[in-house]
């Protein structure tokens, strides 16, 4: 293949990675932004989303499109419920203390992971894509499903942006994020907002997982790499900045795709980690973050 088409292919692959990464990192960023909780178990919500997607499609059988759509609805709802339970049982009781919740979510990570190993097993299992249409480009054919992931992610990101900036729910979330004490003095039930945001963050991870699982299979250890990449994205983009999260996800995803294709995946990871180090040294609040008050 010539250089041009090769680059196009690498960029498309990178965009698919970016699309999933942006959704997942957005969940992480929302939870930290509003609750000041670093959710180390975020990757396990991603894994749980994928495993549940397999469970739903395997149970339903039949037409892969119907099974997939069912998984796209049911899996995030179950993951959201699990997150809500964890929030009520653990985080709330720790008063959302920033240090204590890190340790607690590490514990949560292992609990969810080991439960998945026990009940789902150590195998990687595939989920059928809802459709197998291939788009023929002049140089190569490309999976229509992969392109639809990019589209779905874009729609979800725009929807999240709309909710945050144009609705009352978003206003309440931003007020809580900015000053939770004053928010309470204006009738905002801060603890309920926290519960909702934690569930929403987990659901974003689950949606990302359902979207990616037809390409990458469900496995009980699949949450670790995306967790690391999400942290990288959130650090580069700036915590609590939706725009920063999207830009950083594009940057990391596309450069990962391109460098992996032309050089090696290891080099891609080395460069991403180096960028994080540089951002932390020269712009600790991230590219689009505002300095802490």
């Amino acid at each position: 293949m010539a250089f041009g088409p090769h680059l196009l292919l690498a960029t498309l692959e990178g965009l698919v990675t970016s699309a999933v990464l942006a959704l997942m990192a957005l969940g992480l960023s929302l939870v930290f932004g509003v609750m000041r909780v670093v959710n180390v178990a975020h990757g396990e919500f991603f894994m749980l989303g994928a495993v549940l997607a397999w469970a739903v499609t395997a149970t339903l059988g039949g037409n892969p499109a119907i099974g997939f759509l069912a998984a796209l609805v049911i899996s995030p709802l179950i993951v959201g419920a699990v997150a809500l339970l964890a929030e009520q049982l653990v985080l709330k009781r720790l008063n959302y203390n920033p240090e204590a919740t890190i340790v607690a979510t590490i514990g949560l990570l292992y609990i969810i992971q080991q439960l998945a190993l026990t009940f789902y097993g150590p195998d990687a299992r595939p989920v059928a894509a809802p459709f197998n249409y291939r788009i023929s480009l002049p140089w190569f054919g490309y999976s229509g499903y992969k392109l639809s992931i990019i589209g779905a992610s874009a729609i979800l990101l725009i929807a999240t942006w709309f909710v945050l900036t144009r609705t009352r729910i978003g206003l309440v979330m931003r007020a809580t994020q900015y000053d939770s004490e004053t928010a309470q003095a204006f009738g905002i039930p801060v603890e309920r907002v926290y519960a909702g945001v934690f569930a929403l963050g987990a659901m974003l991870a689950a949606v990302a997982a359902v979207l990616i699982v037809p390409i990458s299979q469900a496995h009980y250890l699949m949450g670790l790499d995306p967790l690391l990449l999400s942290f990288i994205v959130v650090i580069i983009g700036g915590l609590g900045s939706l725009r920063g999260t999207v830009v950083a996800a594009l940057l990391i995803g596309v450069s990962d795709g391109v460098i992996s294709v032309f050089f090696s995946p290891t080099l891609a990871k080395i460069i991403a980690t180096l960028v994080v180090a540089m951002v932390l040294v020269f712009r600790p609040q991230g590219l689009f973050g505002t300095a802490r008050r």
Binding site: R168, L171, Y178, T182, F186, G187
Partner: protein
């Protein structure tokens, strides 16, 4: 005259440090009651305790038959108490309109309330789209008061509204407090400076070491300056 707010035997702690010891306070219907006292006497703590932001260990805070100490913090404003915190505490990253919207949402008030509040602070009307953190100090104070008035509160708590403002602005804040009294809002005003208080307050309560020492009519204070010297220590 009946009381708008009655505090009896209120104990509050910061961690294990006691701040209020059996504080009593009466706010009469439609009056402006000023709390005076030195730094750390417990004035701000009293307001935060009323809002439920600091839990009461003992005692009661009654608003029109409702026991406020039993309510979670976010229910207190819905009962009709509005708070203008020290340092204004606007949602600085949001626009003026969004800050007002949050005030309106507290008790589900609508357009009519918004209009009447904006009439009180016409300056804000031209700034609705502006990010509130970029307003001048005086404008920010007006917005903080506007946001609180969007609750149409029975009781308004003002914590040092004139702090750090220029004299012309202080005069306008004072006018606003007087206007609100005409509308029947009962106000607790925390101030450091006596001269900022004399013209707008009906009564003054002196607080010392977390206890109510004395409550006097403002006329008596004008005649007897020794009181001020004793509790506040400045002329």
């Amino acid at each position: 005259m009946s009381d708008a707010l009655t505090i009896r035997g209120l104990d509050c702690f910061y961690g294990e440090t006691p701040v209020l010891h059996g504080l009593d306070l009466d706010l009469r219907q439609g009056e402006v009651l000023c709390l005076l006292g030195r730094n750390g006497a417990g004035k701000t703590t009293t307001l935060k305790a009323i809002m439920g932001l600091i839990p009461a260990r003992a005692g009661s805070i009654m608003l029109d038959g409702t026991e406020l100490t039993k309510l979670p913090a976010h229910e207190v404003p819905k009962a009709g108490v509005a708070y203008v915190p020290q340092g204004r505490r606007l949602f600085a990253e949001m626009t003026v309109a969004e800050n007002i919207e949050i005030g309106l949402m507290t008790r589900g008030k609508g357009k009519a309330t918004r209009e009447s509040v904006l009439e009180l602070f016409p300056l804000l009307r031209d700034r609705l789209k502006q990010q509130s953190g970029t307003l001048s100090g005086g404008e920010q104070q007006m917005l903080a008061m506007a946001r609180a008035l969007c609750l149409e509160p029975q009781v308004l708590l003002l914590d040092e509204p004139t702090e750090g403002l220029m004299p012309s602005m202080i005069a306008r804040i004072r006018e606003t407090v007087a206007k609100l009294r005409e509308r029947g809002v009962s106000t607790i005003l925390v101030e450091q400076r006596v001269d900022a208080v004399l013209s707008v307050a009906d009564r003054v309560s002196f607080i010392e070491n977390g206890r109510l020492k004395e409550t006097v009519d403002v006329e008596r204070l004008r005649e007897d300056h020794a009181l001020v010297m004793r509790y506040v220590g400045v002329g």
